[in-house]
């Protein structure tokens, strides 16, 4: 490996870390799921392991998955607290960017192009958003890119490839995208001659991924069947989680210019016998298909697509450069490259720099939640949007949250919560509160704005807190 390139990539990685530490897209978590992940990490840090039953969710609900990322970061969390999570997330982002550069170098053998790819990856808006969250996604992307990089370096690194792939399959169901992409790659290039070794790697990779995924999700698969793909989400949640937009929105989210030039490179190489590019093209094809078929969530699919497209984009630039060199007019080629650069600045760099999201909870809300006078056996009814945050900060179980695996008919959960907050009479709300064994009902400002404070609250419900958080204790039963 070229040492100067490694230094260059290292510097870009450091720049990405400084950039995301200095200008995070949000001051705090913007997603409720981040609180869930931090809660799991915190439990592991405290107890050394996590129980298969999550007592803080739905009065005890089974957890699915191996939580490898959570176990990996838990020791650092125990030592350095929440800042360790942020640092590791940013470190993983830098790792992904460096890997994009390395893969590009393997394909093009051009130092310049691999640096361009790495810089492009640094400015993927949807990827940068992840740096202010706690999520195993960046770890998964890192493993995904590692598998691609090692696949291109086979047979030299076969043991490392096998180990990384196993870790990847154990970490995330996104490994199935890798298996699907491999299938698409073999189908697209079935007429090529270089495939024998790839077929062997394919058989190994696919069998291993499917087998491990079946083992990990065995129980959930039996419980939910094929609808496990949708994580048993209620109908009302599906449009928020899956990509439901125009293709132009997708291009904006991954970067317009990288997407266009990436597509150009893909088109150019698919018609030629270059296996690495066909493989990358297959990944792009599979992700886009799954996104539009609503089989892959936007949160997972779009940043991953952005990363792969960065590699193709650099090759697009390389191709364009070769073709521009053939032009007689240098002015025209410089003008065109400048135009592309300006367009890249406008569509990728500026959106990333100006990326700003409101945190899920304000500082005041977090403080108020942490100081709520709640008994140890309290079960809090809250709206699903902030349920994980409430469970993590108050350290009390919530009646329901947005993790719907192993929940019978998740649509009913949404309806029930809606009924509780919109009921006009205590007699209407109490049966629902009893169903979830809720002892307290909690209102954020948004809930008050959306539902209003119910008139029934005075009769059977004692006001416990009236700050930025309104909390009532349930004092009546239907009996």
């Amino acid at each position: 490996m070229d040492k100067r390139l490694l230094y260059g990539l290292f510097l870009i990685g450091i720049a990405a870390m400084i950039f995301s530490l200095a200008f995070p897209p949000a001051a705090d978590y913007t997603k409720d799921s981040s609180y869930f992940h931090e809660r799991i990490i915190s439990t592991i840090a405290q107890n050394g392991h996590i129980s298969s039953i999550d007592a803080q969710s739905y009065q005890g609900r089974e957890l699915t998955g191996l939580f490898i990322f959570h176990y990996f970061v838990a020791p650092f969390y125990a030592l350095f607290g929440q800042s360790a999570l942020h640092f590791i997330t940013v470190l993983l982002l830098a790792g992904c960017i460096v890997l994009v550069g390395i893969i590009t170098f393997d394909l093009t053998h051009s130092r310049k192009l691999s640096l361009i790819a790495a810089i492009t990856a640094m400015f993927i808006p949807s990827l940068m958003q992840l740096t202010s969250e706690t999520s195993p996604l960046l770890f998964t992307f890192f493993l995904f890119l590692s598998c691609i990089a090692l696949f291109f370096r086979l047979p030299q690194h076969q043991y490392l490839y096998a180990t990384t792939l196993t870790l990847f399959a154990l970490t995330s169901p996104l490994s199935l995208i890798y298996a699907l992409s491999f299938t698409a790659y073999l189908l697209i290039s079935s007429h090529k001659k270089y495939l024998k070794r790839d077929r062997e790697v394919y058989i190994f990779s696919t069998a291993l991924i499917i087998w491990l995924q079946l083992i990990i999700y065995k129980k959930a698969l039996f419980f939910h069947g094929i609808s496990l793909i949708y994580s048993n989400l209620p109908q009302t949640y599906l449009p928020n989680v899956f990509f439901d937009q125009h293709i132009l929105t997708l291009l904006t989210l991954v970067g317009f210019i990288p997407a266009l030039l990436g597509a150009y490179a893909a088109y150019h190489y698919v018609s030629r016998a270059k296996r690495e590019d066909i493989f990358l093209f297959s990944i792009v094809l599979v992700i886009i298909t799954l996104l539009f078929a609503r089989l892959l969530t936007a949160e997972q699919g779009i940043p991953l697509l952005g990363l792969v497209i960065s590699i193709l984009f650099a090759q697009g630039i390389g191709l364009l450069n070769t073709q521009l060199k053939a032009l007689k007019s240098k002015t025209l080629s410089y003008a065109l490259l400048t135009l592309i650069f300006i367009a890249f600045l406008a569509t990728s760099v500026v959106p990333t720099l100006t990326l700003h999201k409101e945190p899920l909870l304000t500082t005041q809300e977090k403080t108020d939640l942490a100081t709520l006078p709640l008994p140890q056996n309290a079960t809090i009814m809250t709206t699903l949007d902030k349920a994980h945050a409430v469970a993590f900060i108050t350290k009390r179980p919530v009646a329901a949250d947005s993790n719907f695996l192993f929940v019978d008919n998740s649509d009913f959960v949404v309806q029930d919560i809606d009924n509780i907050y919109s009921s006009s009479f205590a007699s209407q709300a109490l049966p629902f509160l009893e169903r979830y064994s809720a002892t307290h009902i909690l209102y954020f400002d948004e809930d008050v704005k959306k539902y209003g404070l119910n008139s029934y609250l005075d009769d059977c419900f004692k006001l416990i807190s009236n700050t930025s958080i309104i909390l009532y204790e349930v004092r009546c039963t239907t009996q």
Binding site: P155, R197, F204, A207, D408
Partner: protein, 449 residues
Amino acid sequence: MKKETLFTILCYLLTLPTFIIPLFVFSTLPSSLSTEQLLHQDVLSDLKFNRDPVIEPNLYHSILKFIPSQRLLGILLFATILFLTFALLKEKKPLFRILCTFLLFLTPITVGAALYDAQVLLFIALLLAALYFFKKQKTIPTLLVFAAYSTASIAHTLLGILVLTTYAVFTKGWKDSKKTLLLTGSTGLLTALLSKAPLFYSYYAEQLSLSSLFVELGAKRGVGVFFITLAAFAIWRLWSKHRSSQVVFALTILSFALTPYLGDFAIALATFLLLPYAAWSLHHLLTQKWESPFFYYVGICALICGLLFTQLAYLDRAYTYLPDQAALDALSFAKEKTPPNAVIFSHPQNGYLIESIADRKAYTTTYVTSSSDPRFKLKVSDLLFNERNFEEGVALIKSAGITHILITPHMKNGQIWYRDGEGLLFILRDKNTFKKIYSKGGYDLYEIQ
């Protein structure tokens, strides 16, 4: 040869748990008989006392008169199928035959049928035997065996003719076999008509979906993902080289599509059609020269572990379909405390348990044939499950002649309802009309006043 012997030993060592685990589990269960086995026992008892059986009796029930242990019969039929598979593939390489056997052990439908419902294996064995005699050009045994097979249903017969024709065309050619084929086909159809076989026959009417086909997705009977992947790989590779793969592919799709009408038999037939292809894939993977020995060993190991995992996960789950102690108690109570002419309403899937254990008439079962179409009763059941209007609900119950209602925990926990007071559960709150005569272990039995 040494490698093959070692591999055979390894295969059989791996398949040992296939039979040890269920036999161990059965010894700890309150009822070791599955719903289907109880159903067949009930048919025998109905025939003995000249009562109308809940499903139409066929050859399987006649055999049961001589071999009363259904599990023993299942294992015997499984052994027969093993022998016939070996015999049919006699010209193939030994490793290929070993792999076919290995896959037979590792397909949920074959072992599952041997343990829980041998009727499926009987008709598969008869079809394989017909193929075997046909291959050996023994016309009379072919006709006799195919005639016996045809007593199942007309749909079984037609599907059997298609399978025989495909086999004949691709092994001997149409010209050499058309006479035997025409004779066999017409004998089969004639037997089906003379024996008044139904048009189709399935005692489990189930909607066709991915979740009802793949055991990994929770199918009660189905195929495994790894098995299908192996077969699909072979069909893809042989698609242009051998036209038979195209026909077999079409037949497999047809079999799967007929699942709602032929039940487990359709899935079992599709499995047997795909078996040589899945074995071909395994054979191909094992015998081709790999560039990387590491990927060879680990990849093959992952594949075999995947196949084994499917089977073990299925067997680990399948015994949960057997009736538990609470169900046996509730049904025994119904047998003792309800009048002999009682008609018990419950979920259609509980119909056979009511008929066999409680020995009472179930309002509806999942039994589907051309002559006994449960669609009307299923529609009424559906209406009744969701009815919240007391007067209309009671009128519906009375007009259907229902005297008792059995509610199970499964029905209350998602099979029909998710909440207290939903649909029929709301109507049942009226104590004047519905007297709760039994309530234990989540099972409630109501008597209609």
